[in-house]
Amino acid sequence: MARLQLSHVAQINSANLDFGHLTVLVGPQATGKSITLQFLKFLVDTGFVQDELERHGLDWGRALSPLLDVFFGEGMSSIWRDESTVAINGRSIDMVQLAARKRKSRPEKLFFIPAQRVIALRDGWPRPFTDYGSGDPFVVRDFSESLRVLVEHEFRTESLFPQKKRLKKEFRALLQRDVFADLSLRVDKFHSQKRLVLGWEPGSSHAAHTLPYMVWSAGQREFVPLLLGFYWLMPPTKVQRRGQIEWVVIEELEMGLHPRAISVVMMMVFELMSRGYRVCLSTHSPQVLEYVWAVKNLRDMGAAPGSLLRAFDAPKTQGLLKVERAVMNKDVRVYYFDPSRHTTTDISSLDTDVGSQSWGGLTEFSSRVNEAVAEAAAVKGEPGHR
């Protein structure tokens, strides 16, 4: 799929997205970004979604309305109306027929890391698909189930972080520095119940060796499911990608994270791109767009190798330079979900001119703050100069 068009779906009048290797969606809350990304998941993985629903005992009766409720979540069938249309690469999709006919089984092609990822863990352990209600969104349940499979099958007694077989050593160092400090993430048992804990190595000066889930910081609770999602996408082998997965969606990757942690996560997104994944992000963080802006400008300027790594304060190692080189050749798109017109606008050029859209509204506050201070200073004069 290269192009997705939605018309009169939920609050969206018209959304036209041409996907790049990296596609970033910005816009205020409730403008349709998440619904658009979930539609992408549904259309890329229709056969897989139907298989999973059936496998877990969910029956939509081959009708569209219950299928939308079970996929998007309870009450969400109302997003589809008589005038709603969806098209892939210009070809209109008959959604009623899609629900009525069982699609051929196919392996999952799109891995979706939802904004609600924090609820994927309960008491420090990933929740299985069936732990959720039938009215909970499919993408949350599916993500949670993937984490359960990952932790139960690939980390039986091992430490989860840091782990030599997982992630480039540069990323491990950056995560250690900017997210985990000197803590490690590992599987622990409490009254025979396995759970993920943060802890210090035995023999450290800390009195307690483990920190259970309930005492983790908000940022750690947000980051651990995200980290496990990256583990899922980066198998501990020479294989570049997991299974047949080609697409990755990460909603609001910045959630709960300090800007330094956001930097590391963006670098890891670039690693996904260098592995050949097509990545779609939604974000409310100007920092994410700053990095996209840096990529576009450094590429246009023919900047020297290492320039992008400098923007991340990352070391210029061979591994990271390779990631940088790969990203510089990728197509990057940015779309603004306009809340007034309920349409999408291609703002990929990321012009820094001050306008109503100003990077999808993400920098309008900075502009306004600058102008308010400048106006006051222009009247009264800077200290010592007037």
């Binding site: 012009d351 001050v354 900075s366 600058n370 102008e371 009247v379």
Partner: protein, 150 residues
């Protein structure tokens, strides 16, 4: 005092007043749009007019006046490359302009006033840049590649 009469009262600005935006060099003209052209009260090319007197100084570019209620408001406009490395150069120009307005050009220092920086060529500054915040404290607003006069 109107902007026109203020300019004409200063001998160093003799012959510098132009109607509308005509003082702007053709290369800079496309970077400025007057949203209400009838309110324009004239413009001056300071850089050019004061070249003889301040040949080696970091001279400012333009002054543009518009009618705002009962007074003339002046937008002091600098067209300059926009990247982090040029921020200090623009700050120097602004300091020079303020000194000139305080001493010699006091007659044209009408209020309200605003100091505006428009990028010439590619913009390599984001609105989040801390350096733009430094300039804001000096009274300068960076408007990207184009300035719309309200």
């Amino acid at each position: 005092m109107t902007f026109k009469s203020a300019v004409r009262s200063l001998p160093v600005l003799e012959g510098c007043f132009h109607v509308g935006l005509q003082a702007l060099r053709s290369s800079d003209r496309s970077r400025v749009t007057a949203m209400r052209p009838r309110r324009l009260r004239g413009s001056i090319d300071i850089d050019n007019c004061l070249r003889t007197y301040y040949a080696n100084d970091p001279r400012w570019d333009y002054g543009i006046a518009t009618r705002q209620s009962s007074t003339d408001r002046v937008y002091w406009l600098e067209v300059h490359p926009a990247n982090d490395g040029e921020v200090e150069a623009v700050a120097k120009k602004l300091r020079w302009l303020k000194k000139w307005l305080a001493r010699e050009g006091n007659a044209v220092d009408l209020t309200p006033r605003a100091f505006i920086w428009v990028a010439s060529g590619r913009t390599a500054l984001t609105q989040n840049s801390p350096k733009l915040k430094q300039l804001a404290r000096l009274g300068l607003v960076f408007k990207g590649g184009h300035f719309k006069i309200p």
